[in-house]
């Protein structure tokens, strides 16, 4: 499953990123010297316990907030070089987001939720209609087209959230705890869809989660704790019993003992 990144395009690069919150006397470091590279066509999983800085990492990588130190490069261009209008355009045309708790617009029907991102991306009416048909058919959810989010199950909501994230055919998809509200089967379904999107569309999918069950589907797995990011290259080589023993809290132990030394990017 793991893909070689040598011949793939770099879509996002974080170079020695630091992020701290609070004033001088009450400073809290969320990220410290994090480096990371994401390539097109791979699924990257950032594991870590609650409060470890996963969402901060994701929002910095998406250019939604600036880092305190270091550089973010999106599609080879430094974040500072983008104007706010260009960043908005980038989000509309080349990014996709899967939010925790789905964040579908409750006052809009399913097809309107999808239509919205395509409008933002500047698609014309005919293409929007065609694309929505294609997506609803592909994900087998045509029957949900005219339903409001309040009438959807958790699994259906998540499916629509993923459709919304991939609708514009973006190169970079950010997923924040995409399986948090789902059972195992639904969670696996979600990650399979993200995987499919990554491999078919050539997108780089960055998933932050504390759900260790997702590790089998990722091309690369990272562990984030206390603001430090560590790649876990050997995680998939663990025996089934070791994997079973592996929990969100226990992976910290694995990172420092089973895998060996931390490997900064």
């Amino acid at each position: 499953m793991k893909k070689s990144s040598s011949n793939s395009k770099v879509v996002v690069q974080l170079v020695k990123i630091g992020k701290a919150f609070g004033s001088e006397g009450n400073r809290r470091v969320a990220l410290g010297d994090v480096s990371f590279t994401g390539y097109g066509g791979e699924v990257l999983l950032i594991l870590g316990p609650s409060g470890s800085g996963k969402t901060t990492f994701l929002t910095i990588a998406a250019g939604l907030q600036p880092p305190t130190s270091g550089r973010v490069l999106l599609f080879g261009r430094s974040l500072e070089d983008y104007s706010s209008g260009e960043l908005q355009q980038l989000r509309a045309t080349r990014f996709g987001f899967v939010f925790q708790d789905f964040r579908l617009i409750e006052s809009l029907k399913v097809y309107q939720n999808i239509e919205l991102v395509l409008q933002f991306a500047g698609w014309n009416r005919t293409d929007i209609r065609r694309r929505i048909e294609q997506l609803l058919t592909h994900y087998d959810v045509e029957y949900l087209r005219n339903r409001y989010p309040s009438n959807l199950s958790q699994g259906e909501k998540q499916r629509i959230a993923i459709i919304r994230a991939v609708a514009n055919g973006g190169d970079l998809i950010f997923a924040d705890e995409p399986t948090a509200c789902l059972d195992t089967e639904q969670g696996q379904d979600v990650i399979r869809q993200l995987l499919g999107c990554s491999h078919n569309q050539g997108s780089c999918v960055i998933v932050v989660s504390h759900d260790i069950r997702l590790k089998d589907y990722a091309d690369r797995v990272f562990y984030l704790q206390d603001g430090l990011l560590t790649e876990l290259p050997e995680l998939r080589k663990l025996s089934p019993s070791q994997k079973q023993a592996c929990t969100a809290n226990g992976i910290s132990h694995l990172a420092s003992h089973s895998i060996g030394k931390a490997t900064p990017q």
């Binding site: 994701l58 980038l90 989000r91 509309a92 919205l116």
Partner: protein, 279 residues
């Protein structure tokens, strides 16, 4: 040519006394009397009076009632319209009765001149001013315009001030409502920003909501206008509400302006919502 005397007078007695603008004219001349009669007839003799309909309605006078005018008992023979100047109304009596009430005979405020077909207004005005150099003569339209200008000078600033205050209050309320709506949907706006919603799209969304609100408000106002106008006229007969199609269009345009300004004010709330809040 018909002489006309205009004086202030009092109708009623004691606590019911009200000031009225009394026009004394010669009924036989055919001009100078009430422009339009809603009920009854014009005066014939000096013991008769015609009252404006707003005044009659306000003080409960009906045709055939006895009206006390500055102590004289007169018979109400007609109710006129087009004689309501909002703050004061007109009444019409015989010129001799007006002289008696004024305490001077032979005085007039002005003369009304009807031209026959062989004369032009300009030539008659020229003749009058040559014969009576200190006299001012006006054409009918000029006279009406002068009166309107005088009324508007005293009245319109008051209406404009009220309208301006109303507009400010309406704009404040609407921008507050829109701000509350934005705050209630804060998460949705944050999500839209994260998904790359252009600023123009969000502006259109808020302006659209404002326009729907003012559009609905204007529609309700138009539907209830006849009822409201009737109610106001019932409470204050001197206030007559009449709206033309053009005035309705003007009000609707004003409402659209209020909507757009309110939306722009509420947009400041939207600017303080960040894409980050979607996470």
């Amino acid at each position: 040519m018909a002489p006309l005397l205009l004086i202030l007078s009092t109708v009623g007695e004691g606590n019911n006394a009200a000031t009225i603008y009394l026009a004394g004219y010669e009924p036989t001349k055919g001009i100078g009397g009430p422009p339009q009669l809603e009920k009854g007839r014009a005066i014939i003799s000096s013991d008769e009076i015609v009252l404006d309909q707003a005044f009659a309605s306000k003080y409960g006078y009906k045709v055939e009632d006895t009206v006390t005018l500055s102590g004289c008992q007169l018979r109400l023979v007609g109710i006129s319209s087009g004689t309501n100047a909002f703050v004061i109304q007109y009444a019409f009596v015989n010129l001799e009765r007006a002289w008696q009430l004024a305490g001077y005979s032979g005085i007039v405020t002005c003369f009304l001149v009807n031209l026959d077909s062989s004369q032009t207004a300009a030539s008659v005005i020229g003749d009058i001013q040559r014969l009576f150099p200190r006299t001012k003569a006006f054409k009918h339209d000029e006279f009406v315009q002068n009166n309107l200008r005088e009324m508007q000078a005293g009245f319109l600033p008051f209406i404009f001030t009220l309208s301006a205050l109303g507009t400010i209050v309406l704009t404040s309320i609407l921008s507050l409502l829109l701000s509350i709506s934005i705050i209630e949907r804060r998460r949705d706006f944050a999500v839209m920003k994260a998904l790359g919603a252009p600023a123009k799209f969000l502006l259109r969304l808020v302006v659209g909501q404002a326009l729907v609100t003012v559009g609905l408000g204007t529609k309700i106002a138009i539907v209830f206008l006849p009822l409201l106008a009737g109610l106001i006229h019932e409470i204050t007969p001197e206030v007559a509400i009449k709206l033309s199609f053009l005035q309705i269009v003007e009000v609707a345009t004003g409402a659209v302006f209020v909507g757009v300004v309110s939306a722009l004010i509420a947009m400041s709330r939207l600017r303080r919502i960040y894409a980050m809040e979607a996470f």
